[in-house]
Symmetry: C2
Subunit: 224 residues, 2 copies
């Protein structure tokens, strides 16, 4: 599949690499390619500069937002949630008709510790669907660490849940098949994009658990 | 232990009965005893009137809020979250020094479907601790159905998590022991009462799952 991953941080890199490994034709989208490639320092999280990652992943292309999704069948929003709408605006027409997989969380780091930035206009997933009505938005993978997204078996043998929310059943089916290629076995279709808020609100618990357990190797299992 | 359960709804009844069965000296608190006992119709959820339940549970006393907690070592807040602060004000002095187990969720039913009533003043657990600084508040049991609270083994053999949040380690220890008598085995101490908001925000997901799965027999397991 032709897949564009928006965002060059840990989540974007992890998903891009995992998708390329599975034979997809992957492009990473960024605001400004030359700026992104010129960075030579680790980012705020200590990740190596993108150019170094890119050199290790020659099979993953890089393009500016406006060009990145031109031919994409599936676009992954792995940008920071608080700037996702601006990034998607920059992508523009490439979103029409595409499956738009939103894995982002709107986290506010202004107070030091991350907090969920709650909007009166609904969840991020809902806001994205409302702003881009021709995209087929599927919210998923926002309830775990990047490494767990693509390797669920690394936590508890993989016996935990990934949620899928979206209004387009066929888009959810495609995403469910992709998730299965990462090793997910408990893929729970929560319903329409209106349920994205429920999974976005899991983030404060994830953050509290990170503090208490001291590890991001955490999964949520819906026992039923 | 001398335990007072505030609230005569399903949660209050279920906890009061389970605690009395385990040999505790249990009193249920209500705003006005004669009004509560005079009701002869099922409530909005179809529960039988409290007087009928009370006749079946002669070992559980009933008292007005102001009297209910006078000698209590532990007080359970099982009132509706949106009116919990008012109920606790009515209890008054009985809360000083007591362990106050807050199992409530502030749900807004005004729109038909229940929604989480988010306050600018923090989670319900935090608001209660702030308003009653001499009570030792422990937030727990707010992430599952009443029947699951007292019988976790009824869902997935009991392999799911109950969270405990509070500032007083000794109070959390007492609550943890009580939870164990219900059959809880995965009792996760999240930290101070500041973490109550993280578990209260699980409610929208619980509500979405109730709709999707069609059953309240749901548990959350933190896989780690």
């Amino acid at each position: 599949m032709r897949i564009t991953v928006l965002g060059t941080g840990t989540v974007g890199r992890t998903l891009a690499a995992a998708l390329a490994e599975r034979g997809h034709d992957v492009t990473v989208g960024t605001r400004d390619v030359s700026t992104t490639m010129a960075r030579s320092e680790p980012d705020a999280w200590g990740n190596p500069p993108f150019a170094a990652w890119s050199a290790d992943h020659p099979d993953v292309a890089i393009a500016a937002f406006a060009d990145a999704a031109a031919d994409a069948e599936l676009v992954v929003n792995a940008t920071a949630g608080t700037s996702s709408l601006a990034a998607l605006e920059a992508v523009g027409d490439g979103l029409a008709g595409a499956i738009l997989v939103d894995v982002a969380n709107a986290l506010d780091f202004s107070g030091g510790a991350p907090a969920l930035a709650v909007s009166d206009e609904g969840s991020l997933g809902q806001q994205i669907q409302a702003r881009f009505p021709e995209a087929r938005v599927v919210k998923t993978l926002n309830t775990m660490n990047a490494s767990v997204m693509v390797d669920p078996a690394g936590v508890g043998g993989g016996d935990h849940t990934v949620f899928v929310s979206g209004d387009d059943p066929q888009a959810k089916e495609v995403v469910t098949e992709l998730l299965a290629t990462f090793g997910w076995t408990d893929i729970l279709d929560l319903g329409g994009i209106g349920t994205a808020g429920a999974v976005e609100r899991l983030l404060p618990l994830w953050i509290a658990l990170l503090g208490t357990l001291g590890t991001p190797a955490i999964g949520f299992k819906v026992v039923r």
